[in-house]
Amino acid sequence: MNNFVGLSAVLTGFAAATIAPAIDPINIKAEYYAKFQAEIGNNLFFQILSDFQTRNTPPGSNQTQEEKNQLIGEAMLAGSNGENYVMSCRKLIFLWYSGAWPTVDGDTTSSQMLSAKSYTQGLAWQVMQSHPMGDSNYRYGYWAKEPADLSGYTGNNN
């Protein structure tokens, strides 16, 4: 699970502690972990996680963690990994951002929402500093106020 969370953080640009906090009552990662494994199959699933683990070394002395993460992400999405490998990583990004698993058919992408919980947890809403339609944890009158800084949503300094 740690490698799955680390991989997800690198691919989404969110901090691991934001998408999968240590004290995690929502635990959407478990739902996504199971879906990702079921959809891409065990061989590719463990290959991707193993590659991430290998690449996930501490940052160099002249490198920040975010710079290191950027490099890992680029390596995971490199074409040399193979089309299916890269598409699987991209689908994982889609899953985290939308809460839905995509099906790509030529130029057409359709998707199916995993659950009501995954709908509310989509990272797309966080990046927009907003909330899903029909589900809001903001207080009355929030629309008249500035949202929190983006870093408050992603957990990263971006």
Partner: protein, 452 residues
């Protein structure tokens, strides 16, 4: 006095354990050894923070710690009270099932938010009862007063008979409406009075978000606490010896529903549901504890193994968790009883904790009615200072009391009962945040009345 020697030894032991646990509280949460012995504390002291027992600290260990805090709070608030509402320190918990408890001495919402935004009476001064209650004979009222409180306090007025958001009333097995009341402690009351938040005009002048004082373990100061209680009339199918009881003025409130005529009666009622919301230093979203009588309702997916449930007749063909048809009127007797089932099971750790506490309460005083109550769960913020989610990501995500949120149980976001997420939307009459209480919306004002 039924107190046995064994019970006395247990009481002393528990007091010593409480002293130990209090010392641990001051050290903070981190790196404390497992302290199962501190799980059961029977004391009149309201805890101001959890005592962390997890090593490592996990979601489950923290949930356990908050559940322990809930039980300690439940006991402290239900502790027998002196005339001024302070706990009787030498009382044996459970020895007087119908005596006034600490929280029953608090101010009810009816006493705080008065017609025309009038300033409420000071703490300790009784508010007038509804005029229609004057029809109760002084002799009967006196009997109620003596039996209920022995301190001359007017019996509490139960003036609510509906669940939140007009989801409906809850009908007991005798066909009577369940009654509700909301009360605040003195800290919360003082904040409302000092800032004139009891009136529309006062809130308008206040002009900012409400921010009630919190309980601070560093200073020992108690913060804002509010409770909500659900009661049923002790008659017919109910055995009063199984409940914490009180005499109360059951008031049919014409402001609740159309065509309700004011009426009042002094009746013996039994406690079936109890919410506690407590603002603490580490939990600005408040800690939400909820308790029920053990015989309220079976849980879906679990055996129906009691001979009698307060809100469930297995032979009834009435749809489960469905309110009665409108129009609703608490004066209607003989309404078809609600068939209640608990939708979210009590988790195993809370069940084990309930068993521990119930055993300790029974040992402390044989036949204690308090052993007939159980914790459903505690909701608390896991990430209290999260800037993008002011609910603080509560755990568990959903929590409902079968007597207080009967019809909104479940796990549907924005629909099912979630204490913190729901109260996060609460505002005052001026639209400003009311700090997780809907009570402030009850404020009336001269202007509003004049417009009508």
């Amino acid at each position: 006095m039924k107190l046995t020697f064994k019970a006395l030894i247990l009481f002393i032991s528990l007091m010593l354990l409480h002293a130990c646990s209090s010392k641990k509280e001051k050290k903070g949460y981190a790196n404390l050894p497992p302290a199962n012995s501190s799980d059961v504390v029977i004391s009149s002291t309201i805890p101001t923070q959890i005592t962390s027992t997890g090593d490592p600290v996990t979601l489950e260990s923290l949930q356990h710690d908050f559940d322990v805090l809930s039980w300690q709070s439940f006991i402290a608030l239900n502790w027998p009270a002196n005339a001024d509402g302070t706990p009787k320190e030498n009382a044996i918990f459970g020895a007087n099932e119908s005596g006034m408890t600490v929280w029953q001495s608090w101010k009810s919402s009816r006493e705080i938010f008065l017609p025309h935004g009038k300033k409420p009476n000071a703490w300790g001064e009784v508010e007038n009862i509804p005029i229609v209650c004057d029809s109760i004979s002084a002799e009967d009222l006196e009997k109620g007063i003596i039996t209920l409180t022995q301190v001359g306090k007017t019996p509490n007025v139960l003036d609510e008979s509906g669940e939140p958001f007009q989801t409906g009333p809850l009908i007991d097995q005798n066909g009577n409406y369940t009654r509700y009341e909301i009360l605040t402690n003195e800290v919360m009351f003082d904040y409302i009075v000092d800032n004139e938040l009891y009136s529309y005009e006062g809130q308008k002048a206040f002009g900012k978000d409400a921010d009630f004082p919190f309980s601070d373990p560093d200073t020992g100061k108690e913060g804002a606490i509010m409770v909500k209680a659900a009661w049923i009339k002790m008659e017919g199918k109910y055995d009063a010896s199984q409940f914490h009881t009180a005499y109360a003025l059951v008031y049919d409130n014409p402001h609740e529903q159309a065509k309700v005529k004011p009426a009042c009666s002094l009746v013996k009622v039994g406690l079936v549901g109890f919410h506690i919301a407590h603002k603490t230093k580490g939990d600005p979203q408040w800690v939400w504890s909820t308790f029920e009588h053990v015989a309220n309702a079976p849980t879906q997916g679990e055996p129906v193994n009691r001979n009698f449930y307060n809100y469930h007749d297995p032979t009834s063909t009435y749809p489960v968790n469905e309110p009665p048809a409108r129009p609703w009127n608490p004066a209607n007797t003989g309404t078809t009883p609600t068939k209640v089932e608990r939708v979210i099971p009590i988790d195993n750790d809370a069940k084990a904790l309930n068993t521990k506490y119930q055993a300790a309460l029974e040992k402390m005083f044989k036949g204690s009615v308090w052993a007939n109550y159980e914790l459903i769960s505690t909701q608390w913020p896991t990430d209290a200072n999260n800037v993008s989610d002011q609910t603080g990501k509560p755990a568990p995500t959903f929590l409902a009391n079968a007597t207080l949120e009967t019809y909104i149980q479940g796990k549907v976001p924005q629909t099912s009962s979630n204490c913190i997420a729901c109260h996060n939307n609460a505002s005052m009459t001026n639209g400003m945040f009311s700090d997780f209480t809907y009570l402030l919306q009850r404020a009336e004002g001269k202007e509003i009345k004049e417009k009508k």
